[in-house]
C-alpha cells in the first residue's frame, strides 16, 4: 500500500486557498474598490459634470432606466446624441453591479429589492450604512456640498478606490 501523506497535502491546500482568498481581495482592492469607467466615450459624456460613477454601483435595470430618461436627469436635461446613448447604455449595463461588475458591486447592492430601480447611488441601503457617521455639517461643507461629490473625501475615487 502506498502511504499517502495526507497532512502535507492538506497543509499545502490550506495555504493555497488562503492565498487565493487574500490575493483575490487585494486584486479587487478589498470591499471599497469599484473598477472605474474604462470607456473613453462613457468617461467623457458621463464625467463632464460629475465623477463618471462606476457602472458596478448600480444594477443594470437602473442604468437602462437612467439612460432612457436623460432629459430628466436629476433636474437637468442631460440628453446625449442617440447613437452615443446606445453605446453608453451598453457599457453601463454590461458592467453593472449585477452583471460584469458583480465582484465590485455585489456588496453595495445588498438589500436592494429586485423589483426596485434605484437611481441614486447615495440612496442604496449599503451606501447609507457606510456613510452613517458623516454629519450633516460635513455634507454642507463648502468643499463637499453634495453627496454626489465623492472626490471631496475619497481622493482616489477617480481611480476606483473608496477606502478612506
Amino acid at each position: 500500500m502506498m502511504n499517502i501523506p495526507y497532512r502535507p497535502i492538506f497543509l499545502v491546500l490550506l495555504v493555497l486557498v488562503f492565498s487565493a482568498l487574500v490575493l483575490g481581495r487585494a486584486r479587487a482592492g478589498g470591499d471599497h474598490y469599484f473598477a472605474p469607467v474604462a470607456h473613453a466615450t462613457v468617461k467623457a459624456e458621463c464625467g463632464s459634470c460629475h465623477l463618471a460613477y462606476a457602472p458596478s454601483m448600480l444594477p443594470a435595470r437602473s442604468w437602462t432606466h437612467m439612460m432612457a430618461n436623460l432629459d430628466k436627469h436629476f433636474g437637468d436635461d442631460a440628453s446625449v446624441d442617440p447613437k452615443l446613448a446606445t453605446e453608453i447604455t451598453a457599457y453601463l449595463v454590461a458592467n453593472a453591479g449585477d452583471q460584469g461588475g458583480q465582484r465590485y458591486g455585489a456588496k453595495l447592492l445588498r438589500g436592494v429589492s429586485p423589483t426596485s430601480t434605484p437611481q441614486r447611488i447615495t440612496e442604496l441601503p449599503r451606501w447609507i450604512k457606510e456613510h452613517r457617521e458623516v454629519s450633516a455639517q460635513e455634507w454642507k461643507h463648502k468643499d463637499v456640498r453634495t453627496k454626489a461629490n465623492c472626490v471631496a473625501c475619497h481622493a482616489r475615487a477617480e481611480r476606483g478606490y473608496y477606502d478612506e
Binding site: S48, C49, G75, D76, D77, D81
Partner: protein, 140 residues
C-alpha cells in the same frame, strides 16, 4: 512588436498634424455659421461683439435654474480661471489662451450651448448670443 509601437506613434503624429492645421479653421467656420444665422434672423446684424459676449457671460438671468443664474455660477468670474460644477468637478478655463483645446469640436460647442443656455437662461441661445460669447472667449 515594431508595428504595435510604430502604429500609435504614427496615429498620434497624424492627429497632431490634423488638429494643428484644422483648429483655427474649425472655430472660424463655426463663427461664420453663427454669423449667417444671425443675419438671417436680423437683417441689421453688424458682426459679433466681445463686449456683448462678456455681458452675456456675467449677467444674471431669472429664466433658468435658481442655482445657476449666470454662466459665472459654474465657470467662475474670471474666464481665465477654472470653474467648478455643482458636484465639485473642476471645469477648465473658458478662455482659449488658458485652454487652447477649447472650441475645436463644433458639435461639442453646440451641445454645451444648448445645455448651459437652457440651465442659465431658461431657453436656447440665439446665433447672435453664441457668436458674441465665442468671440469674447477666443479673445481671452
Amino acid at each position: 512588436m515594431l508595428l504595435t509601437r510604430t502604429f500609435p506613434t504614427l496615429l498620434a503624429a497624424w492627429a497632431l498634424l490634423f488638429s494643428a492645421t484644422g483648429q483655427a479653421g474649425v472655430r472660424e467656420d463655426q463663427l461664420a455659421a453663427y454669423a449667417s444665422a444671425a443675419k438671417a434672423a436680423n437683417a441689421g446684424f453688424a458682426g459679433f461683439s466681445a463686449e456683448r459676449g462678456k455681458t452675456l457671460h456675467t449677467q444674471n438671468f431669472s429664466g433658468g435654474k435658481p442655482d445657476t443664474p449666470a454662466c459665472t455660477a459654474c465657470h467662475g468670474k474670471d474666464p481665465r480661471g477654472s470653474g467648478r460644477t455643482p458636484t465639485g468637478k473642476t471645469i477648465d478655463a473658458v478662455a482659449v489662451s488658458v485652454t487652447p483645446t477649447r472650441y475645436t469640436d463644433p458639435a461639442k460647442v453646440e451641445k454645451w450651448f444648448k445645455r448651459n443656455c437652457t440651465e442659465v437662461l431658461g431657453r436656447v441661445c440665439t446665433a447672435q448670443e453664441k457668436g458674441d460669447w465665442l468671440t469674447y472667449m477666443l479673445g481671452q
